[in-house]
Amino acid sequence: MSDEFEKLLRSKEWNELTYDEKELAMRHVATEGDYFSLRKVSLALDKKPIASIEPGKEILHSLKTKMSGRTKEARPSWAAIVFRHKTPAYGTALWVGIALFVGWSLGKEKQIGSTMSERIVYQTDTVYQSLPSDTVYVKQVVYKYLPAKKAEPLITKVTTPEASLKGINMKEKEELETLLVSGSE
């Protein structure tokens, strides 16, 4: 049902409707009589009286008794009590800041003028070997003493070429010069 028809129903009688409005009305009701009845019922319902009944006062009292009985049966743990009430973020941040400040101030007081004495304790620990030590065989390099050999000087034989007593004749000299000029073959 359209909102337009609802408005017409509450505002106009059938004979007050325009042609278009009547066309709209005929989409929802069959006859003029239907329109009349529906209008009257709608207006009467709009003037509805609120039901003359109020909740009984004893009901709330009974419910509270039941609630307290249920609460006694199941007492909330300390965690439920602590965390029952939700706090906003800024409230939580403020409590954290306060806790940090208190902790810092308490720690700060301890550091000033602290005179801690130290006692030096010497303690000798005795270690008892419960198991026999393992025998480990290691390849040992044995160095044998060898006297160093005397270094013998290198014998160098220097030979001085001796001049030949035999000279060369003229013919051998010419052959030699020819050989030197022509180059080696």
Partner: protein, 192 residues
């Protein structure tokens, strides 16, 4: 120190506190919903005041004893109306039609005797109660949610599990049925 005022808490937050055993939260929630729920039960249960009070008490006892039944993913108002609606449906199944038909017949006789008289609000309310007898439980609840509690069609759809458009159509259909029944008995309504 930094907690919210209990009156400023949402319905869902109050339910969460009730689960922890907070009596103040239960009192606040009762204050918010008790009037609407007792009027709903009054309309749905044949305008029986005693029955309406009993059902109101039972509804909140369920809430206290089994708070874990509340589905946190749903809106609380939708959930509590759904529970109330189901309680009424169960009651209809328990009470036999014969018991209700007797009161129906008596009313029928009185209407016929005054068939030519103009109807005032009192007779209209009685006529509505008579018409509701013939409706299904969902239609009865829809009518009461809309007429008595002035819920939106979106809220009604959430409780009954139907789309908003369907709730609107059903509401128009129920009013049309009322109008047809008035015309059939030729009861003249007082001119507005």
């Amino acid at each position: 120190m930094f907690g919210k005022n209990i009156a400023a808490l949402t319905d869902e937050e109050l339910m969460s506190r009730i689960q922890s055993g907070d009596e103040g939260a239960m009192t606040e929630l009762y204050g918010r919903y008790s009037k609407q729920m007792v009027r709903y039960f009054y309309r749905m249960l044949w305008q029986d005041q005693n029955k309406a009070q009993d059902f109101l008490h039972d509804l909140f006892v369920r809430l206290i004893e089994r708070p874990e039944l509340f589905d946190v993913s749903r809106k609380f108002s939708t959930w509590i109306y759904s529970v109330a609606h189901n309680m009424c449906k169960n009651e209809y199944r328990k009470v036999s039609f014969r018991n209700n038909a007797q009161s129906f017949v008596q009313f029928e006789t009185s209407v016929n005797e005054k068939i030519t008289e103009e109807m005032d609000q009192k007779y209209l309310q009685q006529a509505i109660a008579r018409a509701m007898e013939s409706w299904e439980e969902d239609d009865r609840s829809l009518f009461v949610f809309r007429q008595e509690l002035e819920m939106t069609f979106v809220e009604i759809g959430g409780v009954l599990g139907i789309p908003e458009g369907t709730a609107k159509s059903r509401w128009f259909y129920l009013r049309k049925q009322l109008a047809d029944s008035f015309r059939d008995y030729k009861i003249l309504l007082k001119a507005i």
